[in-house]
Amino acid sequence: MKVLVPVKRAIDYNVKVRVKPDNSGVDLNNVKMAINPFCEIAVEEAIRLKEKGDATEVVVVSIGEKAVQEQIRTGLALGADRGIHIETEAGVSLDSLQVAKLLKKVVEAESPDLVILGKQSIDSDNNQTGQMLAALTGMPQGTFASELKIENGKAVVTREIDGGLQTVELDLPAVVTTDLRLNEPRYASLPNIMKAKRKPIDVQSAGDLGVDLSSKVKFIKVTPPPQRQGGIKVASVEELVDKLKNEAKVIS
C-alpha cells in the first residue's frame, strides 16, 4: 500500500503574527516557518502504517516556492521514503481548490491507496483541501481523524465531530485528514536528518501540470483583530461575583 502525504509550509504555531501596516497581508519576513502541525501528524500516521506493515511506501508532496523543500526534508527525516515538490513561482499564493487540483495530478501519477492530509492549515484556517481532493478524484473521505485502521483492505476512520465521535469505513483509495489526537509525532533523530538529505525529491513545475492556477478570490484587505480592552484583577471571589452581577450584569 502506497501512502501519499501532502504537507504545507506554514508559520510556526508559536509565532504571533503581525498584520502589515498597509493592510496587504501579514508580515512573514524573518518569521519562523515550519511544517503545518496537522501535516506533521499526517506524516507520523503514514510512517506508523509503514511500521505496522500496512504501508510499503510513504511519499510526501508539497506545493509552493523552493523553500517548501525544507518541509519535504522534515517529512523525509521523520521517515518518509521520497519527496515530490510541485514548484510555484515566487509570490504566487494558491487557493485550496488549486492545491487540490495539483494534488489530483500527483494522485493520477502516483496512484496511492491512501492520501493523508492535515485537516487544516494554521495560516489560512481553510480546512478544505482534503475534502476537495476527495471530491475531484472520486475518493471517499474520512476527515478529522482521531483513529485510523486498515482492515480487510478498507480504512476504518474514527472522526472527531461536534457531538462526539463517529466511525466510518472507506473503500480504498481514500482520503483521510488528521485531527490533533490521531498521534503524537516523533522527533527526527540526527542520523535520520542526515539520511533524509540523501533521499530523492522530484521537482516538477506547477505550471506544467495543466491546471489553471488563477484564483477567483481576491484579498481586499487584512486588518488586525479588534483588541480587547485590558480588564482588571479582582482580589476575591466576593468581588468577582459582585462585578459580574452589578457591573457586567452577566449573572443575576
Binding site: D162, D171, L180, V217, K218, P225, Q229, V237
Partner: protein
C-alpha cells in the same frame, strides 16, 4: 441573489446555528431556501419552515442522508445548486466536511468561516487563528460559504414557509457509517450556551472537572475545555474550545486553569465578558480577561459555587 442554506440538525431538532445562518444569508439577498437533508427528519423541516423570512424549505428525507455522509450530501447539494447564487452552511464539523466537496464539484473556491457579509461577493473571515481579519472578494459564479454562526444573530421562529419534499436519494457506495459515540449531556451545547465555564490542564484530572458542575448548574452554563485537558484524557474531544475546536462567543466565559495560548484564545476571545482564574499572575489569559482572579482553582471554585 438566491441563497441555499443547509440546515444544521440531528434528525430530531433543528440546531440554533440554522437561525444564525439565515441572518447571514439574508445579508446577501432576500430569496432564501433552506435545505433539510436527513432521515426521518420531518419535524426538523417543520421547525425550519418557521424560520423568519425564508422562502421555502426543501426536504430530502432518506436513509442515505441519515448520518450526513459527505459524499452523499455533497452530491445532493450539487444536484440542487443550479439557480442559486450562494450556498451557505454552518462551519460545524458537518458543514466543514461536505461543503469543500460541493465547491470542488462546482469548480469554485470555498470561503471558510465568515464572520461578516460586506456585500453579495465580499466577506470577512479570520485567518491565522484570528490574529488577522481578511476581507475577501469572490468572482466565482456561485459563492460556497461556511459561516461562523456565533458571529451572527438568530432570526426568530415566526415564519410559515412551504415545505417541498424531494425524492432524490444519492448514495455513494464507497463509504459506510459504522457507529457513533455521542456525548450525552443535560447541559446546553457549547455553541449555543450563554455562559461557558472551561477547564484546562490546571484541573489536573477528569474527576476534578466535577468542581465545575455545581457552578455550571447554577449559571445554566455549558462546560468546555482546552486542548491540553482533552489530550490528557480529562474530558471528551467535543468539549475543546479553540482554533481547531469549537468557536464560541457567549455572554460570559470563565477560563479555569487555562494559560491562554493563541489557539485557545482564537475560540473564545469574542465572548462578551471573560473571567480568568489562574494561579500564575503572568498567564497570558489575563491579557484578554475582563476580570482576572489570581488564585488556586481548588480553593476558588468551591467558594465561587457557594457564593452564586
Amino acid at each position: 441573489m438566491t441563497v441555499l442554506v443547509y440546515a444544521e440538525h440531528d434528525n430530531e431538532v433543528l440546531k440554533p446555528e440554522t437561525n444564525k445562518l439565515v441572518t447571514a444569508a439574508k445579508a446577501v439577498g432576500d430569496d432564501v431556501t433552506v435545505l433539510v437533508a436527513g432521515q426521518q427528519c420531518e419535524a426538523v423541516a417543520q421547525a425550519a419552515a418557521k424560520l423568519s423570512g425564508i422562502n421555502k424549505v426543501i426536504l430530502a428525507n432518506d436513509a442515505v442522508y441519515g448520518h450526513q455522509l459527505p459524499e452523499n450530501i455533497a452530491d445532493l447539494v450539487v444536484s440542487l445548486a443550479s439557480g442559486y447564487t450562494h450556498i451557505f452552511a454552518a462551519a460545524t464539523t458537518t458543514g466543514k466536511n461536505f461543503m469543500p466537496r460541493v465547491a470542488a464539484l462546482l469548480d469554485v473556491a470555498q470561503i471558510s468561516d465568515i464572520i461578516a457579509v460586506e456585500s453579495a461577493d465580499t466577506f470577512v473571515r479570520p485567518i491565522y487563528a484570528g490574529n488577522a481579519i481578511a476581507t475577501v472578494q469572490s468572482s466565482d459564479s456561485v459563492k460556497v460559504v461556511t459561516v461562523r454562526a456565533s458571529a451572527f444573530d438568530a432570526v426568530s421562529d415566526d415564519g410559515n414557509a412551504e415545505i417541498e419534499t424531494i425524492d432524490n436519494a444519492i448514495k455513494s457506495e464507497k463509504s459506510r457509517f459504522l457507529n457513533a459515540e455521542l456525548t450525552e449531556s443535560e447541559r446546553p451545547e457549547l455553541t449555543a450556551a450563554d455562559v461557558i465555564i472551561s477547564g484546562g490542564r490546571g484541573m489536573q484530572n477528569g474527576e476534578n472537572f466535577a468542581l465545575l458542575n455545581g457552578i455550571a448548574d447554577k449559571l445554566g452554563a455549558a462546560i468546555g475545555a482546552s486542548r491540553a485537558a482533552v489530550d490528557a484524557g480529562f474530558v471528551p474531544n467535543d468539549m475543546q474550545v479553540g482554533q481547531t475546536g469549537k468557536i464560541v462567543a457567549p455572554d460570559l466565559y470563565i477560563a479555569v486553569g487555562i494559560s491562554g495560548a493563541i489557539q485557545h484564545l482564537a475560540g473564545m476571545k469574542d465572548s462578551k465578558v471573560i473571567v480568568a482564574i489562574n494561579k500564575d499572575e503572568e498567564a497570558p489569559i489575563f491579557q484578554v480577561a475582563d476580570y482576572g482572579l489570581v488564585g488556586d482553582l481548588f480553593e476558588v471554585l468551591p467558594q465561587l459555587e457557594s457564593s452564586l
